[in-house]
Structure formats: C-alpha cells, structure tokens
Symmetry: C2
Subunit: 260 residues, 2 copies
Amino acid sequence: MDIVLIGSGNTATVLGRKSLAAGHRILQVYSRSENHATRLAGSLNAKAVTSVSSIEKNADLLVIALQDEAVADFVQALGVIRSLLITHTAGALSIHEVRNAGDRYGVLYPLQSLRKEIEILPVLTLLVDGNSPSTRDQLTDFASGIAETVIQADDDTRLKYHLAATLVNNFTNHLFAVAESFCEKENISFAVLQPLMEETVLRLQHISPRAAQTGPAFRNDLRTLDKHRRLIKNDPAVSRLYEMFTKEIHKSAPAIRFKP
Amino acid sequence: MDIVLIGSGNTATVLGRKSLAAGHRILQVYSRSENHATRLAGSLNAKAVTSVSSIEKNADLLVIALQDEAVADFVQALGVIRSLLITHTAGALSIHEVRNAGDRYGVLYPLQSLRKEIEILPVLTLLVDGNSPSTRDQLTDFASGIAETVIQADDDTRLKYHLAATLVNNFTNHLFAVAESFCEKENISFAVLQPLMEETVLRLQHISPRAAQTGPAFRNDLRTLDKHRRLIKNDPAVSRLYEMFTKEIHKSAPAIRFKP
C-alpha cells in the first residue's frame, strides 16, 4: 500500500519502519515540525510535508499517529478526502474521532510500548477496527503484514486493553523507576536486577502471575517485612508503595499459604 | 565440590541443577519429606536423606535452602560440623544465622525468581558473603561457576538488594495478577499483553525506566484518566492501584511534560 504517515513520534516511526519492512511504500511523513518530518521521512524513503494541504490524496492509507489531544484538530484541518482510508492509532479514542475525514476509516492501535530510539523493532500486537466490515477486513489484512498478532476490537474492547496495558506497562515501569531511585540512593546496582525483571515477565509464558507470586507479603513473613520497613522508613516514595502492595498482596494470598 | 543440599524447593532445585551442570557433585538432598527428598535427589544423581544425623560430614559445601523461618531450627539440629563450609541462601537473614554450625560459613543468595517447574535455568545473579576473606573468596569462586553474575555483599547490602528485588518482582507480579483478573472479568485476553510486558522490561537494557515512562498519568491526560476510571469504578482492586499509581506517576513526571 501507499501510506501517508501523520506524525513523527514513536508510533509513526515504528509503524513506518514495520510497514516499509513489509514491502509497503511510505509516500509522505507529515509533521508541523519540518525538522521532525524531514528526519523520519529520510529514514523511510518518504517525502517530508509540513502543511496539511500538501498531503497526497492518491495514497491508499493515511495513518494519524499523533497525541490523542491533537487528532480532532488534525482531522478538522484535513477536511474530507473520500479516496483515502483513514485511521488513528489511539487506544482510548473512539473510531468515530476520524469519521469526518472520509467514508472509510478505522483504527490501528499498537498494544505495545514503542520507542523510536530502540533499533530492534518490538513484537507487535495491533488492535484493529473499521467503520464497515470491508474496511475492517482491509485494515486487518494490512495489520497482519506488519504485526505479529492482530485482533479486531471495537471501542469498548480497545479501551479495556488500553487500561490493562497501562497496568502492566506504565505502572510496572513506575515500580522499576522507584526501584532505580532506591538503588541509586542506597548505592547498589539497578542493572544487576535486569535478569530478575526479565525472569518475572518471561515465566508468565508458562505460569499465571497468581500462581507465580512469592515474597514476604505473600508469605506474611513479618520479620522480613519489619526489616524492609526499617530500611525505607525515611523514604516516603518507597514506603507508600511498600505498604500498599504489602496489604494488597497479603489480601490476595490464599489463606492456606500463610505461615503463623 | 561435593555438595549437600538442604531443602527440596525452588532454590535447592535450581542451585542443584546449576551446580550439577557446572561439574559439581550433589552428594545428598535433605528434606523432612521423604517424597520431596527422593524426587529432587533422583534428578540430581544424589542420595535422599530425611534425618539430620545422616547428613554427610565429609562434603565440601552444605547449602541450606530452606524457608527463612526454618533455618535457625535446622542449624540447631545440625550441631557443629567443623569440616563443612556452610551457607544459607536467604536475602533477608544475617550471615550469622549459620555461625553456630561451624568455623567456615557464608551466604549464597540468588537475586532471582526461581521456579523448579520451569525447565530452562534462568540467568542467575548470586550475592555472596563469607565469615572470613578466605571463605568469601572460596564461595565467590564456587558462585562464579554456577551464576552469570556474582557480587560480594554484606548483610546490609544484601537486604537492600532483597528489598529492591521485592519491588521489581513481587510488586510487579502483583500488577500482572491484577491485570490478569481484570482481563478475565472483562473477557479480553491477558496472553495478548505478553509482548508488551516483555518489551517493558527488555527496553531497560537500553534506557532508564524514568526516561521510558509514558501513559495518561505521566501526560496528565485527564480525558483518558476519566475514561479509565469509568471502566473500573466497580472494581475496587484495580481502582485502588489505579488511583495510587496515577498520583505517584503524576508526581514523578517532570512538569515540563504536562500538557495543559
């Protein structure tokens, strides 16, 4: 397909690279920043454009990969282009956010944490929606070529996945950030935890996180909990998380596993 | 070395397998449960023993891989065996927990989430301590043969690593468990999140978690936060975590990144 990319951030970059690798052509990269447009367009053999009026109407697919808040304004500026299949890429925006742009529209939402800085393209899951069965099928075909997993999902389902992604990505990453700060403060190495963090995730290929839970809160090991608390009593950020998780994990542990 | 393993759980199993693979000999596996002792001993070409008096005194190394609460009782039952180098494997127990067992003692603490059910041996970091420089060096040598990373760490340092491990393993795993329950309740697939969870961790090989943070709480995207809140308003477990993390992530985000 001949694709126009709207945006020059993480999503535009990774979807652009994946599309190019799958044999599609990126005609244009649009960004209000000429610098950003030129940089991404250059790496995708595309043309950089900075004005909405220059957007190529004879493309097959236009992918709006902007911040959520910027999508409505862009669609309004774009006007109606009947020839184009138009999609946004947001987990928490309705498919109808782009309905004023044309007759065929949909969503390509990457359920993944995308970073343009990282060379290796991640294993990608795309949640797809379309305003009609044929649009949905066409987008599903396209998605199957650039993503390892493709799921058709309506607005409600996509928002649920978006929330679950927030739990396992943003919240988890926050725990890692707190642990990193703790390590720096206590002069121990955060990098040494990398294999543990990887194992915590990789074992979920084999067992459920509920079955995998261990640790002092789960065992109700009061002696260790007490030692930890003394260690962090002057660190409010760690303490708040510690108390909340200890309570929640304790609550979630099957009573039978508790030692007296 | 000729090794006696005390215990038949995750730690004993994985350290036993790693030791065998590194060319050491497992003489005995001790467990109060004959069943457990026999099963693990069988897989390690070792002899199963269920009474403390049968423990081989002519081994080189005795590894106490019991639950923290059971270590003191075991050491008392063992008595003094001067010929043996004796270690425990606990992150939150002092090295002195085993001092009554002999003249040479120490700690081999795996900073890793060990599951005996999983066939593939994980990348292992061992924190090592010994009651004298020569004991510490001998244990460091041994550890270097069975673990990918070895760090000498005293009681205080080991406890700090243990706490950091709790944050990035137990707490993270709890988030995954909550997400899994949410997915089941909402009838979406938790397994689909696996590549996202892996990417969240793997990218930390390249960037700091603080630099990697994204999401609606970080951006202060009130519209999306509101959509999420409506979705989970009848789910107290998710809501409690959601509110806490949203506040904490918001607090940790550089002011410059907020959109008005």
